[in-house]
């Protein structure tokens, strides 16, 4: 039909169809990945010797309790841990289409009920940390590239390397000690102790914000350092390229040359890096959440791994992977959107 012909003749529309097809293709491609990951996840969670019941027995014994072997056997039967691993796996995955991610042995509750609330905090913290990283690193990167080897560049480089080399758990611990011993404020959790029971108010909200920014900054610091380096390096490369020289030769203002020509190009690799930053943020949210007692899925995940609460640990690992797959897709789409030279294949 002529309409379609007309549409197809317009490059913009042609590209849009391609993009939708591309997204659908990517989504379909996720399904086998998802299945393979669910298998790997389940196997990994099962890898340590013993099972949930042995770990429960050991933990209770370590805190001074006691459970004899007949109780232990009964527990194992009750949780279905005596069945073959394939049966256990099927019991778990067959619920996925219904949105049932399994049952936590430790909490005695559906996995989803446990993590739903915490997933929100994880996404919020990771998202804020990403925003923080970008907002801080791009301007610093530009500044560093434009003032190569100046005092400012050196200071930022130094701080950047410091941020890169101090692990996030260390920063969290340092903040805890500093806040408690020097500032005398409560640094762990999402609220000060006296605010937990208070009804929502402006004070409580401010108190929450006061507890939110340290984990965000700590999670963002490592990535920030990395992004500054990338931004600086790219921009330096691009500032030496001929079209920048041409732009300068044409008499454009330096501000325009840098912002409209160079930065736009230099930012592309940053977007591809975004896909890699998302998993880092997620793993960082686990560690920081643990140390600062923030209710992300992190602490629950670690605990589920330690106690071998396999369905819970497996489901979290799986959800994290899905977040990662989606994050990567978004990064790719963003890159295509920013860089018109990208083709969908």
């Amino acid at each position: 039909m002529p309409g379609i012909d007309f549409d197809r003749s317009t490059p913009g529309n042609y590209k849009r169809y391609d993009m939708i097809a591309y997204i659908i293709k990517r989504f379909l491609g996720m399904i086998p990945t998802f299945i393979i990951i669910s298998i790997i996840t389940f196997v990994i969670v099962q890898l340590p010797p013993g099972d949930f019941v042995t770990s429960a027995q050991a933990e209770i014994a370590a805190s001074g309790g006691g459970m004899d072997s007949s109780t232990v056997e009964a527990m194992r039967v009750r949780y279905g841990l005596d069945r073959p691993i394939l049966v256990q796996y099927w019991k778990w995955v067959s619920g996925f289409p219904r949105g049932d991610f399994g049952y936590s042995l430790e909490w005695n509750a559906p996995v989803w009920d446990i993590i739903a609330g915490r997933l929100g905090w994880t996404i919020l913290l990771s998202g804020l940390a990403l925003v923080f990283m970008w907002v801080v690193s791009i301007p610093i990167g530009i500044y560093s590239a434009r003032h190569k080897y100046s005092l400012g560049d050196n200071v930022f480089s130094f701080l950047g390397f410091l941020g890169l080399s101090v692990p996030d758990f260390m920063l969290s611990l340092m903040w805890l000690v500093f806040a408690t011993m020097v500032l005398r404020i409560s640094a762990s959790g999402l609220h000060s102790p006296q605010m937990v029971d208070a009804p929502w108010s402006l004070t409580k909200f401010l108190d929450l914000l006061n507890h939110l920014w340290p984990p965000v900054v700590i999670m963002g610091i490592v990535g920030t350092a990395e992004l500054i380096r990338i931004m600086r390096g790219n921009l330096l490369d691009i500032l030496n390229q001929q079209y920048v020289t041409t732009a300068r030769a044409k008499g454009l203002e330096e501000k325009v040359v840098v912002q409209k020509y160079a930065v736009r190009m230099a930012i592309n690799p940053l977007i591809s890096v975004l896909g890699m930053q998302i998993p880092k943020m997620i793993s960082s949210s686990i560690i920081v959440g643990l140390v600062l007692s923030v209710p992300t899925v992190g602490p629950i995940f670690l605990r589920a791994l330690i106690t071998q609460d396999m369905y819970l640990a497996g489901a979290i690992l799986l959800l994290m992977t899905v977040m990662l797959l989606i994050g990567n897709l978004l990064a790719d789409i963003a890159l295509a959107w920013v860089d018109p030279r990208i083709r969908y294949e």
């Binding site: 340590p48 010797p49 013993g50 042995t54 770990s55 429960a56 027995q57 050991a58 933990e59 209770i60 014994a61 370590a62 805190s63 001074g64 309790g65 006691g66 459970m67 004899d68 072997s69 007949s70 109780t71 056997e73 009964a74 009750r78 936590s104 430790e106 909490w107 005695n108 509750a109 559906p110 009920d113 446990i114 993590i115 739903a116 609330g117 915490r118 805890l176 408690t180 005398r184 409560s186 762990s188 959790g189 102790p193 937990v196 029971d197 643990l290 140390v291 600062l292 007692s293 209710p295 602490p299 629950i300 670690l302 605990r303 106690t307 071998q308």
Partner: protein, 621 residues
């Protein structure tokens, strides 16, 4: 006139009676409001005829307040559970006293120790107001303990010679427990230790359960539900479930970050002035996934009273901050014979090592080779007590010479003993086995904290110094626990408690089951009555026979004698090597939090601090 006087006298009597009843018991202000509003029966009707009177540690308290604590997760049930210790009979506050009345006010033995009659308090009520009767005990026995879908096998204290006890209900408040032989474990293990509401977190023991509530969720009475539902409803974390304890969990669920427990209006205890307990309105436990974060909150005064999960290594930080945040610190000795103890596995497969480990002189030498003072300084801030592995002085079985047996530092004597048993020192300074082959032993443990690992390294060095080539290996708790229980470890290490009354669960006294790491294979043999594991040597069999005798002795004096004999044999043979014990718990107590004693020996069997009656702790505000 006479009539007048009579009426007057009668009315005076009547009035005093009424006013006594009215003045007799007082209650918390919130409960009084509910009574005023007609939402709750008056306190006299809620209390039983003879409430249990709690003797105050410091004095009469005041109502009100929230008791803040920290805990580390759903498995940490005891963080709450030990504050609400309410069994059928109670462990005494002083372990040297006999077992005390609890839900049962009296009990007597008859039929030469084969029948135990329990008399419950009349008028006891569950937290929902439903009467507590013997039906709640029979429900537990018939439908929980004897239902193999719930309990694999009934607890050993109720099974004698393979025959489970029989219950005979006399009336709502009287029940007879009948055994085929005298039952020496019924009072202590059965009713004081295991005598709580089923299942006590993950322990899965008890003596009663709310029949009126649970019947509707039991597959036997309601075919529409399965056992998962029952487990869920009977579990301690279920906020709907009626309880007999001072506080009842009111807020907790999947993914929650705190646990709240509120006052039970039907609690059956009073103080000497007739005030219904508990004094404190509610408990709030904040969840910390990480023990150090929990400690930090404690340092900044986040808890009103707690010692669980508070680590000794933070003691200096607590001292520095106590005045700023307004709390006191007590050091309560823990009933650990030794913070870290060493089990030479006497049932190890390797014949050479087994022969050496079974020699008492070898174990004595290894004990003498250790400098306990140094360990105390390095690992326990000098706050522990260097001692042998045996019961603590608060134990009814303690004798003054026991805790220093082979506990002095004497490497010369150690070397001499090792020479005597034929472990010759070679030119390289290390000893060989009697047949001349290489002697090398491995101490295993889990990934402990730094203080404990430091101690392990010191002990390994000490043994190398007397010529026994020793190395150490640590691993995650799960791997380690499994290895140790399956008889694979040469020298196992663990933190053992049970040092007040080890007879309740004598795993460290002799090979009792697979958790007795001085000989797990012999323990398995004893537990399975000879069908599994390996047959032990005579000296262990004698101890097993003594314990069998203990189990059928009802007379507590005779029981004590047997227990003393077992404890002495254990100490003289150095079945377990101890180093530094009775390491203190750091107890953080807010300055206005009262009725907490300065010192108290804590033990898990005694549900510390359960015997201190946390229901009468109060805030002096």
């Amino acid at each position: 006139m006479k009539k007048c006087i009579l009426i007057l006298t009668l009315s005076v009597i009547l009035l005093t009676g009424i006013s006594f009843a009215a003045l007799g018991y007082q209650e918390a202000p919130q409960l009084a409001e509910l009574v005023q509003a007609g939402k709750l029966p008056p306190v006299e009707e809620r209390l039983p005829e003879e409430p249990l009177m709690v003797k105050p540690i410091e004095g009469i308290g005041k109502y009100g307040g929230t008791w803040h604590r920290g805990f580390t997760g759903i498995k940490d049930y005891h963080a709450f559970g030990r504050q609400v210790y309410d069994p059928m009979l109670r462990w005494p506050r002083d372990p040297k006293d006999p077992v005390q009345p609890g839900l049962a006010k009296e009990w007597e033995w008859s039929d030469e120790g084969k029948t135990l009659t329990l008399h419950l308090r009349k008028g006891l009520k569950w937290s929902d107001g439903h009467p507590f009767t013997t039906a709640d005990i029979t429900f537990w026995w018939n439908d929980i303990e004897l239902d193999t879908n719930i309990t694999a096998a009934p607890h050993t204290e109720w099974v004698i010679d393979g025959k489970p006890m029989e219950l005979e209900v006399v009336d709502d408040y009287t029940i007879k427990l009948k055994f085929s032989k005298p039952n020496g474990l019924a009072e202590t293990v059965g009713l004081a230790f295991h005598g709580n509401q089923w299942p006590l977190g993950f322990e899965r023991f008890g003596f009663f359960a709310p029949r009126h509530y649970l019947e509707q969720y039991h597959p036997k009475y309601n075919p529409e539900v399965d056992y998962t539902v029952f487990e869920d409803k009977a579990f301690d974390y279920n906020t709907e479930r009626p309880v007999m304890t001072a506080w009842k969990i009111s807020e907790w669920g999947p993914g929650a970050t705190r646990l709240v427990a509120e006052r039970n209006p039907y609690y059956w205890k009073v103080d000497p002035e007739g005030n219904q307990l508990p004094y404190i309105d509610e408990l709030v436990l904040t969840l910390f996934e990480e023990a150090e974060a929990l400690n930090l909150r404690a340092i900044e005064g986040g808890y009103d009273m707690q010692f669980r999960r508070i680590s000794l290594s933070n003691y200096p930080a607590f001292q520095q901050n106590k005045d700023r945040y307004g709390y006191r610190i007590f050091l309560w000795p823990d009933a650990v014979p030794s913070k870290l103890c060493y089990f030479f596995n006497q049932s190890i497969e390797d014949d050479g090592l087994r022969n050496i480990f079974q020699n008492p002189k070898f174990r004595q030498a290894m004990s003498l080779a250790i400098d306990r003072e140094v360990i105390n300084e390095v690992s326990y801030l000098g706050l522990g007590i260097p001692r042998a592995f045996t019961v603590v002085p608060d134990s009814p079985y303690f004798e003054p010479d026991l805790d220093q047996l082979y506990a002095q530092y004497d490497p010369a004597l150690a070397n001499q003993l090792l020479d005597e048993i034929g472990l010759k020192k070679g030119t390289d300074g290390f000893r060989t086995q009697p047949d001349g082959s290489r002697l090398e032993i491995i101490v295993e443990g889990m990934d402990w904290d730094k203080a404990t690992l430091d101690e392990m390294e010191l002990v390994v060095a000490a043994w190398n110094d007397v010529g026994v080539r020793t190395s150490m290996r640590t691993m995650s708790r799960e791997i380690y626990w499994t290895r140790a229980c399956s008889n694979e470890v040469q020298i196992a290490t663990w933190t053992e408690s049970r040092a007040i009354d080890p007879m309740t669960d004598p795993i460290w006294v002799f090979p009792f089951d697979e958790r007795s790491w001085m000989a797990p294979a012999y323990g398995t043999w004893y537990k399975s009555e000879g069908s599994l594991g390996k047959e032990p040597p005579t000296y262990f069999k004698e101890m097993m026979a003594l314990y069998d005798q203990y189990k059928v002795t009802v007379d507590s004096e005779k029981q004590k004698e047997i227990a003393k004999k077992l404890v002495r044999t254990h100490a003289e043979n150095v079945f377990v090597i101890g180093t530094v014990g009775m390491t203190p718990n750091v107890v953080v107590v807010k300055n206005d939090f009262r009725n907490v004693p300065d010192t108290f020996t804590t033990d898990w069997i005694y549900m510390a601090p359960g015997t201190l009656d946390p229901c009468h702790f109060y805030f002096d505000r």
